[in-house]
């Protein structure tokens, strides 16, 4: 092994692989192939972003959280409140949603990230529950249990109106997801992203090499909160409605399930798990409207037993096996 080889292998690692184009090609193809599913498609795209934010915190930094929904809901209510109070411009609505969510992430992170493991998990739940109840109580502002009604979202750039068929929404979500994915991909390949992996793998060692571990965790928590905020704002704007369920804890659990199905800590787990889950949910609920959740649960059990590491983990093992045969 010579120096140029080793250095080269590192310099190449962040380069784009042809397979990375596949999700985007599928997204465009799906628009033409399944016109009646375009509204569901937009939801899937926005939810992928939510799962991507969870992957950054859980998969890369190893922060086990059930509180991502707090940031998702903050983004949704921020964009929603702006649109009900006379500011329906979507792009600034998204940015405001991101900023508000990032602020909640930063402030709650400052307190709760001092802990780790099970204590931290409980505290993430606490933050999400507190926010849920606060929004529920403030019904004069948020509509409480009835949700936020009467959002008026303006056309994008004053030109592209959000239509009934969800076509504008689809491309809006696709482009925002693409930009956020690009940013996340840069982050996970940066020295910061590598140090997150270090913190996940061995936090004692990271302290011993002089890493400000607390600061790194706070930064990634805040970034992920902003991304979840964008996701929530995007769903609020495209459905023109925000419900209390946007802050519900089951959403935090569901997004983790989606991520686990796809594969945690691999950047593309969200792109596989979310569509699989949401399409399965759509199919199962039309085949078996009463017991569809049972089938989701059953598939989940099978996946955890037979495909640890999700679909991507399975693919990696198959690839290894094929290589070792050769």
């Amino acid at each position: 092994m010579h120096s140029p080889d080793a250095v080269g292998s590192f310099a190449r690692r962040h380069r784009y692989h042809p397979l990375e184009a596949v999700p985007w090609l599928i997204a465009v193809a799906a628009y033409f192939a399944f016109p009646t599913y375009v509204p569901l498609g937009a939801q899937i795209l926005a939810t992928i972003l939510f799962a991507l934010s969870a992957d950054l915190v859980l998969g890369y930094a190893g922060i086990v959280t059930l509180g991502q929904t707090a940031f998702f809901g903050t983004g949704a209510y921020t964009a929603g409140l702006l649109a009900t109070h006379g500011w329906g411009e979507p792009i600034t609505g998204l940015l405001a949603g991101a900023a508000a969510a990032a602020l909640v992430g930063l402030l709650s992170g400052l307190v709760i990230l001092r802990t780790t493991g099970l204590t931290l998990l409980m505290l993430t739940l606490v933050v999400a529950s507190m926010l849920y109840e606060a929004v529920n109580k403030a019904s004069w502002l948020t509509g409480g249990d009835d949700g936020l009604q009467g959002m008026e979202v303006w056309p994008i750039f004053g030109r592209f109106r959000f239509d009934l068929f969800g076509e504008t929404a689809y491309f809006y979500c696709l482009i925002v997801l693409f930009l956020c994915w690009f940013a996340v991909r840069r982050i996970v390949h940066s020295p910061f992203g590598r140090s997150l992996v270090g913190i996940r793998e061995n936090v004692r060692r990271m302290h011993a090499i002089g890493t400000p571990v607390g600061a790194r965790r706070l930064v990634v928590y805040t970034i992920a909160a902003a991304l979840a905020g964008v996701s929530g704002a995007m769903i609020a704007q495209t459905t023109q409605f925000v419900a209390l369920s946007f802050l519900g804890l089951d959403r935090s659990g569901t997004v983790l399930i989606m991520l686990i199905i796809g594969g945690v800590g691999r950047l593309y787990g969200a792109f596989i798990g979310v569509p699989l889950y949401m399409i399965a949910q759509d199919r199962f609920s039309s085949i078996d409207p009463v017991y569809w959740y049972f089938w989701i649960g059953l598939s989940m059990v099978l996946l955890v037993v037979f495909a640890r590491g999700g679909v991507l983990g399975l693919a990696e093992r198959l690839q290894l096996r094929v290589r070792s045969r050769r």
Binding site: A6, R194, E201, N202, A208, T211, P212
Partner: protein, 251 residues
């Protein structure tokens, strides 16, 4: 006379009734090759944890080159050149040898928090890390994940990571622990060849290694310093023989 590389004054730590450090006054002179020995549970590793900031002391002060670091967080101590290795290998097991070292080099260069530029574009850090890996004879394994290496090789990576931080004071916590005797020679050679401006404190059980490397030895028993002196004096000390060397022979 210049201040010692590392000094503790009245350093004390207890967990309930268990006293792991009892009023420890310790001086590590600059450029020293100093060993800290003692039976199991004497508080050697706790001493390292206290000095590096992983454990907060109940009382006492810690000074590096005359500056009080007692209240500094761990990362800030590393920036001052106070670096440790772990008794039980603590590496990033899924990552390659090279990346383990790169992470350390990146932190020293202050680029570890860089958010947007790909890690692979920081050529200087990668090349420096590889040079170090090569120097320790690990070039062949540079791209292999840690968990595929023999334990002796892992111990070398442990030292490589520490050296990547350019230590001024290096605390080696049982560098040869768990390594088959045939392989410990490489580790001893690496330690012997360290530049003289790195001050070394070696915590060790292996007496051959201690007497070969150390110019000065401190013996700890039950959280306190029993005696300190040059190797010959320690070897001849009847008290040391009773509590430590003798016990080992019987075992």
């Amino acid at each position: 006379m210049s201040a010692p590389a590392l000094e503790t004054r009245g350093l004390t730590k207890s967990f309930g009734a268990l006293v792991v450090a009892n009023m420890i006054d310790f001086r590590l002179e600059r450029g020293a090759r100093h060993a800290l020995i003692g039976p199991n549970g004497a508080g050697k590793t706790s001493f390292v944890e206290l000095v590096t900031g992983a454990l907060p002391p109940n009382a006492g002060r810690i000074l590096v080159e005359g500056a009080d670091i007692t209240l500094l967080p761990r990362a800030a101590r590393v920036k001052r050149g106070l670096v440790r290795t772990f008794q039980i290998t603590a590496l990033f097991r899924g990552l390659s040898v090279l990346e383990n070292v790169i992470l350390a080099v990146s932190e020293r260069h202050g680029i570890g928090g860089g958010l947007f530029r790909p890690a692979g574009n920081y050529r200087a850090a990668i090349e420096e890390a590889f040079a170090l890996v090569e120097r320790l004879g690990l070039a062949e394994d540079a791209l292999r994940p840690i968990n595929t290496l023999a334990y002796g090789r892992q111990r070398l990576v442990e030292i490589a990571v520490a050296l990547a931080l350019m230590p001024r004071v290096l605390l080696l916590d049982e560098p040869a622990a768990g390594v088959p005797s045939g392989e410990s020679g490489t580790i001893i050679e690496v330690i012997e060849s360290l530049p003289p401006d790195i001050t070394l404190l070696i915590i060790e059980h292996d007496m051959d290694l201690v007497f070969r490397l150390a110019q000065r030895i401190t013996v700890m028993v039950q959280g306190s310093i029993l005696v300190e002196g040059p190797p010959e004096a320690i070897a001849a000390d009847p008290e040391v023989r009773r509590v430590y060397l003798g016990e080992r022979k019987r075992a």
